[in-house]
Amino acid sequence: MKSIIALIPALPLLSFLILVLFGGKLSRKVTGWIGAGSIGMASLLTMVVGINFINALPGLKSYTVIVWQWMHAGNLNADISFSLDSLSLIFCFVITFVGFLIQIYSIGFMAEDEGYRRFFAYMNLFVSSMLILVLADNILLMYLGWEGVGLCSYLLIGFWYKEPENGTAARKAFIITRIGDTAMIIGIIILFVNFDTFNIQDLMHQASAKWATGSTIAVVTAFLLLSGALGKSAQLPLQTWLPDAMAGPSPVSALIHAATMVTAGVYLIARTNILFSLAPIVQAVIATIGALTLLVAGFSALGQHDLKRILAYSTISQIGYMFLALGVGAYSAAIFHFMIHAFFKALLFLAAGVVILVLNEEHDIFKMGGLRKKMPVVFWTFLTGSASLSALPLVTAGFYSKDAILWFAYSSDSGGIVLWLAGIVGAFLTALYSFRMIFITFFGEAKTEPVLKEGKLMTIPLIILAVLSVVGGFIELPASMGTVHIFSGLVNNTLPGVVIKNVENVEWLFQLISALIAMSGIYFAYRFYFKKPKYMETFRHSRLNHLFETGFGFDKIYDTIIVNPIVWLAEIDKKDIFDLFNISIANLALLGNRVLSLTENGKLRWYILSFAIGIALILTFMINK
């Protein structure tokens, strides 16, 4: 029964192989249902496993299944082995369930695409790698999954490879995440060299036993792992790849660049939390980076005019919230926000995909408008998602998850008023840019006419996700309103609970403030973008807006200090200075060839003469001896 968890990543992998090896013989319909069905099966299995697991709690907190021995050399020992605990269960659930809905949607969304089979093959490979990442028992297998999702992200961003800029975006994503990944593998090697094992549990036990809190090696290792997480999760300073990654199809953005892969960094930090608790400085860095990222990305989202780029910056910003929560030690709040974010952000991306598809590849929100009447299902689901994203009080799930983070950012042992302030400003920005999207896209007068009607395959996943982004919040209610701790109860089986410092319990006050902030953000959006678009027009041409639009010019800075010098060096190296020596040897040989080939003149009698002379010479020398 337990070994069933090995099937969860195996099923999507199997369907990937089927699609790659025999896909040419399958009809489009079968291809789609294999692609979606395998993930649906994985999702069902996850639920069965999950129910069994929760029933066995609290007696059984985690279990491991070894599938086979992967490599064994000396003391280097790694198995293909999966382990299930509440953290990986939640990730598995989100990956398979949201993944399944997105695959169903893709059957409709990609119906006309020529790369239909390729799309489903890549998506299945992605889901399989992501499941390996979260289920891996040892850190090496986890790294395999980590690189697997990076590869699939690359392949899917550049899915429409005929446009050169899509290929550029894919390479950018790959290279920037690679910077983090390199740091991460160094961190993994440091861990292995010190503790002679790859098993995550053993590593964490040994680290807490052998390394002192705040010791240099602990800080360095934690920092290296954090770098990997920053690259994957698009946090400052490695966030620039995510907005460009929107070049991929919308289901890809929904699954990989919103719901699952970009939260792998959150998973990594949560999984190795013991190591991070040994390095309080790095913890503080995580919280600071999270706070900065959510502000930078929030402001950037305000300046975008491409619907998907707004959502991309919003994703960066929301993951910033998760990092903030991780930094202050509120693991369950981070994981809770991860889950709720997966629901509403997948919903928003899918709905945006429908809008873009229906409007014939129109990405610019200023060319949209008035879509409320024309596509009511998309409007209402998009509204629900945005409300959840802006943490509309009481009714939406986003409120409960974000509120938990904001409260812990203040009240946690390592939190403080500054982090809370950053979070609350971010909350205002979130509400503002979410409803800016709503008002500009769905209200006002129509500027582009829809060219086709969205199908049921696309709208049903939207409705399911919309329901989840509302009711998903009720499994975890704060102490001030109802005290439901189903989710954190589950998470805290694996992760340490948050340490609250000795403050007065004024959570209700903080909730009131954040509720007011969210409402006022929506109100401002209503004033600026709906009632008085005149201000908006002036703002659109201001320099501040330009700063926001370019994402605070990070791309430009990196181009100047890193990319351009390297390109310059490459230009010099193009002349192959170091090859000159080798080339001269080759030229010498060629010259010899030219000279000697003169003797090959095709005159048989000339050959005979040289033959005779040669023999005469040889004989002369031999006789002289």
């Binding site: 030219r594 080939s597 090959e600 003149n601 095709g602 005159k603 048989l604 009698r605 005979i608 003469l609």
Partner: protein
Amino acid sequence: MLTVPIDTQILFAGILFFLGLIGLLVRRNLVFMLMAIEIMFNSAGLVFIIAARHWNQPDGQVMFIFILAVTAVEVAIGLALILQVYHHFKTLDVDAINNLKDDR
């Protein structure tokens, strides 16, 4: 019986060989070149005979029989090749037949 010194005999064979070689070098007609080669063969055979005579051993004579056989075979193949060459190129001028030459 008049005995010719061995040096003279060898010299005679050598002259014969060089006559053949010069014939090979100066003639351009393939038939004549084949004939020149025959002369060179025969001069080599002559040296065997001279050696056999000098040491009173039969081996040299035997060797000459071999050489004769080889020459006969060589002439057969050579003439066949010359026929084919003429058939193909409509000439026997060896300088004109240089299709395998490096073209540079």
